[in-house]
């Protein structure tokens, strides 16, 4: 009997590591896909799940700076991002907005396969999301962000006052309480890219109210208003 079991155990000893190795390769962190704006029962900024937990947590900016190391490789040590908009500025953004965006990426409501493996819960805990958010919110916003061509700022201002100001604020300061991002000090290329994606339904965690406002905007309109936003004064 013991001999028979030994044989079976030997097979197990060979097979289990083989299966585990296959699983490990298959386990490469792939971003999940949660229902977003394309889904009929999508509720923007629904107060539930991890976002709610992170919002209730007390963020610690000192721990946040330590946890931010996995973000700094792309967003920069001062979270200044890149002028070409490849990585957005995070410095000075509202903590609530940062928590919403991070938890949306983690849950798969905002598609970002490049960022996901660095922001997923196998790297960062919910508490760390809150810590990073308060660390970033307190960082200074500097006026050296990437700007647009400045070709039609008067028209850009007109569009901004008409369609954007009521939510994003007179000087683009946004609203932490309402989860509206600050747009001042942000890189032009990033503002433009996200505006296009929001208009086209590709940013799946977008606010449907905003989609409605900009759905008739041409690419040129989006560029002009993004240009204006990138030049808003910093308070």
């Amino acid at each position: 009997m013991i001999q028979v079991y030994k044989k079976q155990l030997l097979w197990l000893a060979v097979l289990v590591p083989m299966v585990m190795t296959t699983l490990a390769v298959a386990e490469r962190p792939k971003q999940p896909r949660a229902p977003g704006i394309e889904s009929p029962d999508y509720v923007w900024n629904e107060m539930r799940g991890e976002m709610l937990q992170a919002l209730r947590a007390t963020g610690d900016p000192i721990r946040g700076e330590i946890s931010f190391d996995v973000c700094a490789g792309c967003h920069g040590f001062g979270a200044e991002g890149e002028d070409d908009g490849s990585y957005p500025r995070l410095a000075g953004q509202h903590a609530s907005v940062l928590i919403k965006q991070m938890t949306d990426v983690r849950a798969g409501r905002r598609d970002n396969p490049k960022m996901y493996p660095f922001a997923a819960d196998h790297v960062i805990t919910t508490q760390e999301v809150a810590d990073i958010a308060v660390f970033l919110a307190a960082l200074p916003v500097t006026p050296d962000n990437g700007k647009g061509p400045g070709s039609d700022l008067a028209r850009g201002e007109e569009l901004y006052r008409q369609d954007c100001e009521s939510c994003h604020g007179a000087i683009g300061q946004g609203s932490g309480a309402k989860f509206y991002p600050r747009v001042s000090g942000q890189h032009y290329e990033y503002l433009l890219r996200e505006a296009r994606m929001i208009r086209d339904g590709e940013r799946r965690n977008a606010n449907p109210e905003m989609v409605e406002v900009i759905e008739d905007y041409s690419d040129a309109d989006l560029a002009i208003v993004s240009d204006f936003m990138s030049r808003l004064p910093l308070e």
């Binding site: 490469r28 330590i66 190391d69 996995v70 700094a72 490789g73 792309c74 070409d84």
Partner: protein
């Protein structure tokens, strides 16, 4: 049992009633005590330098500066990092047929002693094997690659390569060793990285980027 009886061990003697031969027991007992006092029991932790001289010195040197660049430099690496690697070599969680048998023979206390020894050694100057790659490597290390979403190494390992409690000290590490490790991470053959971060990063690197960044790391001091 048979061998025990033939060897005339203390237990076999004691089991036999021998009231007229009490001296033999005393002599055997005294001998055993003397032997026990002379030879330290093997379970006690050995001194780090003693272990290094018998196991590690040929590849890693006593001061952590190895004779060949295929082996990692250990001087100045975080003690927590060295201890973690030894433990994971022993458990097979970092697979390395050369290191595993050495690590398996170490107790946890010995691993900690080795880690403490090497972490406090001063690392010697790094050895650049291909100087033409250093500038390209500097760019990859500090800027990453925006096209492929490769983060700058400097984010976690710091701009000066000294690392943090969570990311290993890199400055001056041997280029062939660093290159090998990046390849292993990219191929999912080394899997003991925090949060799969190095596997993610290395999988986004070209071989050219790996070679260049390894040379730049070797040049850092």
């Amino acid at each position: 049992m048979q061998t025990l009886a033939h060897s005339g061990s203390g237990r076999a003697i004691a089991a036999r009633p021998a009231p007229h031969r009490p001296r033999a027991q005393v002599v055997v007992g005294a001998l055993l005590v003397a032997i026990a006092m002379l030879a330290p029991p093997p379970t006690l932790a050995r001194d780090a330098v003693e272990i290094i001289n018998s196991l590690c010195v040929a590849c890693h040197g006593l001061d952590g500066n190895p004779p060949a660049t295929a082996f990692p430099r250990l001087g100045g690496l975080q003690a927590e990092y060295i201890e973690k690697q030894l433990l994971e070599y022993a458990r097979g969680e970092r697979q390395n047929p050369s290191m595993q048998p050495f690590a398996e023979g170490l107790s946890r206390i010995e691993m900690r002693a080795l880690a403490a020894h090497y972490s406090t050694q001063r690392p010697g100057p790094g050895v650049v094997t291909n100087p033409q790659l250093v500038e390209r490597g500097r760019q990859v290390y500090h800027e990453g690659n925006r096209e492929t979403g490769l983060p700058a190494c400097a984010g976690c390992h710091r701009p000066d390569g000294t690392g943090t409690p969570r990311s290993v000290f890199l400055a001056g590490q041997n280029a062939p060793y660093v290159f090998d490790q990046m390849r292993l991470f990219a191929n999912e053959e080394r899997t003991n990285d925090r949060g799969r971060l190095m596997r993610t990063v290395a999988a986004r690197m070209t071989e050219e980027e790996m070679r260049a960044v390894a040379e730049y790391i070797a040049s850092m001091r």
